[in-house]
């Protein structure tokens, strides 16, 4: 593997770790449903970067592109449905705090 690819792999992996750690921490520590969705989005960016870096260093960027396109489609649908859930939750509980959802019956 070329030195450039090795360097990009190292730098890309560090960026993935930082983004993923930040996103997971934000999803756990946030008290706002919209911020939890933002954390989920950043986690998806981290995974997309990981797939892209893996495709680049292994020389299979076409396969990585196909997987990234699939991930983007799934991400959009998840965010659209999650946004609907957040809006409805706020209409019912008048609050965006996820702890108020613990009062739901069922």
């Amino acid at each position: 593997m070329s030195e450039e690819a090795q360097f990009l792999f190292s730098a890309g992996t560090i960026a993935v770790i930082v983004l993923a750690l930040t996103a997971v921490y934000a999803m756990v520590a946030s008290r706002n449903l919209v911020r939890i969705l933002l954390g989920l989005e950043i986690l998806t960016k981290a995974v997309t970067l990981l797939v892209a870096v893996a495709g680049y260093v292994s020389g299979r960027m076409a396969l990585a592109e196909a997987l990234i396109i699939t991930m983007i489609v799934v991400e959009v649908v998840i965010i659209a449905v999650a946004a609907g859930v957040v809006i409805n939750a706020q209409r019912h509980t008048r609050d965006l705090d996820p702890r108020t959802l613990a009062r739901l019956r069922g």
């Binding site: 750690l21 706002n32 960016k45 592109e65 196909a66 706020q90 965006l96």
Partner: protein
């Protein structure tokens, strides 16, 4: 030159990602997310993935930002005083994250991630269109099903109960 550009883009991606999480207001967070998507799109172009870059830019930086701004407008926004008060409390909750990032920085300084195995012989040169429509055809079926499920989900979530027997709608 391209190495420095890639490292600069990676650094920008991390900065915009952190700004998305730590922004004082939700709107600033949504705009930072759009910026992170745009930077990731540029990275994908640099790595030789133009189709994925276009998808990332148009869908994630465009449509998802619109969704987030819509959600922010439809939910109760905080006024400036409440937002500033909550921002101070939120910063305190994120202090352990800065310690975790420091541990990661020290670890990656002394043991940087490397890959030892060389790429497989006969590197694949197929086009992304052939991979998407031939090799990963089943993924497309899955995507269509997920989109269908998402459409039904959104319709159900925003369904309004109609009054019975022609009673006037409140």
């Amino acid at each position: 030159m391209s190495v420095y550009l890639n490292v600069l883009l990676l650094g920008l991606l991390v900065v915009t990602g952190l700004l998305t999480i730590m922004a004082p207001t939700l709107l600033l967070g949504a705009i930072s997310l759009a910026a992170a998507s745009a930077v990731l799109s540029a990275l994908l172009f640099q790595m030789g993935g133009p189709l994925a870059g276009v998808f990332e830019l148009s869908v994630c930086a465009g449509m998802i930002t619109v969704v987030f701004v819509s959600v922010i407008c439809l939910t109760r926004p905080l006024d400036d005083v409440e937002a500033r008060e909550r921002y101070r409390l939120r910063l305190l909750r994120f202090v352990p994250l800065s310690l975790l990032l420091l541990v990661v920085a020290v670890w990656t300084w002394y043991m940087p991630p490397t890959v030892d195995t060389p790429p497989p012989a006969g590197v694949a040169t197929e086009s992304v269109r052939i991979v998407l429509w031939d090799l990963r055809r089943l993924d497309l079926v899955g995507q269509v099903l997920i989109i269908l499920a998402g459409v039904f989900g959104v319709v159900v979530l925003f369904h309004e109960n109609r009054p019975q027997d022609g009673a006037p709608k409140p």
